[in-house]
């Protein structure tokens, strides 16, 4: 994603427009090229924005009715918080850019810098949206929002900075220490490890620290509210994902049909594997598609399509088995399964780029298994630690969980003073 680390690490806003205008001397083509880039990135950003509606409805369908409104308000409010903190803190930290200069300065040709921010924000804002599904039905609104703000303002931008952003020289460049040690830099095209991995591994300690929902492991006690809303969320995510992956190219001329093809096949692999391993369970099938898409992000520009099919299928199976182990065996009450979905499949995606990205497996090569393994695991560890520290501190300071009575009556009524279908109440 945006492998032009030159301009990314330039850090000087004023130099941006010159960098851009230096690309090409021919004026007409240049104007069209730059506006086309802006358009291309915009569509990516809008598709990723729409994914947040997908996160919301996936959660609406997967929780009990008494927590649907909270799912909706949480996602849209956290989008707002993320926008502000990422604009003011996270983006400058990750990319060394700030957008507070005058419009004439920053805007440049077609204001492409603004479009880029919008796109990158879409990724950053996935972090709290991912966590949201794990801590659902019992987390306090405000402490959870605060955690999200810290993650989007500091934790994710640091991970982003060291892999995609201004500090990425060591890890992402062909002559950085990582490449010199293992033969190739770290490659995560659209964020399997960087975005999903971070989100999923941040969520895990949050889920453990929160503890299981009341009566979660008594028989017949907790059932999801709505498969149609769950599926709606899943479909919105699937469709938006083609923006998440394809527009990660960052410039129209770098668009790659292969990325779309690989996303498609990973989604299909994930769906079908999840269906086969779950006896056609609606919850698994619709999330299997997402598992495939999470896993394919990192190497979607490298794999042979059949490699993607395998990566996706493995992710689908991984999700099914690990969700059951996590929630049934280890009794970690991860409501939507965000750790196996984003954490594990993200980690798998990061590693998979080092396997199926190899030329011997039909990939385009230029990746190192060890680089992928080390950095993907590193991200997981850093995120898990950060999650533990932030949620641990918040728990100690304010408490992170609704009190028992609030949880019983549901977060809709206790936080938002309304039920999801108000007219149904007599």
């Amino acid at each position: 994603m945006f492998r032009h680390s030159k301009w990314i690490s330039s850090g000087l806003l004023l130099s941006l427009s010159s960098t851009l205008s230096a690309q090409d001397a021919e004026p007409v083509g240049n104007a069209l090229a730059s506006s086309s880039d802006a358009f291309f990135i915009l569509i990516g950003a809008v598709l990723i924005l729409s994914m947040h509606a997908g996160f919301a409805f996936l959660e609406v369908g997967s929780v009990r009715q008494k927590n649907q409104v909270n799912a909706l308000n949480k996602i849209i409010c956290e989008w707002g918080f993320s926008t502000l903190i990422y604009l003011f803190v996270g983006y400058p930290l990750a990319r060394g850019l700030n957008l507070f200069g005058s419009v004439a300065e920053v805007g440049g040709v077609n204001g492409i810098e603004y479009m880029r921010f919008f796109l990158f924000l879409g990724f950053a804002a996935c972090i709290p949206a991912i966590i949201s599904g794990g801590v659902a039905e019992r987390a306090k609104f405000w402490t959870n929002s605060l955690a999200g703000i810290i993650f989007v303002g500091l934790v994710y931008p640091l991970i982003e900075g060291f892999t995609w952003g201004q500090y990425s020289d060591g890890i992402a460049t062909a002559d950085g220490w990582l490449a010199q040690t293992f033969g190739a830099p770290f490659h995560d095209f659209a964020g399997s490890a960087i975005v999903h991995g971070t989100g999923g591994w941040l969520a895990l300690p949050a889920i453990i620290l929160l503890g299981k929902r009341i009566k979660r492991y008594e028989s017949n006690s907790i059932k999801v509210s709505s498969i149609p809303f769950l599926a709606l969320g899943s479909w919105i995510l699937i469709v938006g994902w083609f923006g998440f992956n394809v527009m990660s190219a960052g410039a129209l001329e770098d668009i790659q049909g292969l990325v779309a093809m690989n996303s498609l096949l990973a989604m299909v692999g994930g769906t079908i594997a999840a269906m086969l391993f779950s006896k056609n369970d609606a919850g698994f099938v619709h999330n299997g598609a997402l598992a495939g898409l999470v896993a394919v992000c990192a190497g979607s520009d490298l794999y042979h399509p059949l490699g993607s099919l395998a990566v996706g299928a493995i992710a689908g199976a991984l999700f099914v088995f690990m969700f059951e182990i996590e929630t049934e065996k280890w009794k970690i009450d991860d409501v939507l399964g965000v750790w196996p979905l984003h954490g594990l499949c993200g980690l798998w995606g990061g590693i998979a780029a080092g396997i199926f990205g190899q030329e011997s497996l039909g990939g385009s090569g230029g990746v190192s298994f060890m680089s992928q393994l080390v950095i993907s695991c590193g991200i997981a560890v850093v995120a898990a630690l950060a999650g533990f520290i932030v949620y641990g501190a918040l728990k100690a300071a304010f408490g992170i969980r609704l009190d028992e009575q609030q949880e019983r009556i549901g977060s809709d009524l206790s936080i938002h003073h309304i039920q999801s279908n108000p007219e149904d109440a007599l």
């Binding site: 028989s219 059932k223 999801v224 099914v320």
Partner: protein, 113 residues
């Protein structure tokens, strides 16, 4: 006056209603309920978590009725609701002390119809 309550299979509702209409019993109050009985139940599973569901959809019909019509009503319900399969349901009858039509404040047997 009696209160007759029948718990039947949902798909039989239309036939039972028709059978009652045919003998001019046209007042009733109906609700969706869930029943547990010999019929057993089924297992539901969501992402590997299995739930036993032994409460099945039923429809509950409540009919207040004058004593002389009770037998006909029971016959009509039985014949129309019966499929012969387990789960057909039950009819309960108990005595009613009072029945008032709110609109007219009529009380007793005339209020029922």
């Amino acid at each position: 006056m009696k209160m007759v309550v029948a718990v039947i299979q949902p798909e039989k509702l239309d036939e039972v209603k028709q059978a009652l209409f045919d003998i001019k019993i046209q007042r009733m109050t109906v609700s969706r309920v869930r029943g547990c009985g010999q019929q057993g139940g089924f297992e539901e599973s969501y992402r590997g978590q299995v739930h036993k569901v032994n409460l099945l959809d039923k429809v509950r019909i409540e009919i207040a009725i004058n004593d002389e019509f009770v037998d006909d009503a029971l016959k009509a319900i039985i014949s129309s609701a019966k499929s012969g399969a387990i789960g057909d349901g039950k009819i309960f009858v108990w005595p009613l002390e009072k029945c008032i039509r709110i609109r007219t404040e009529e009380d007793g047997p005339e209020a029922i119809g």
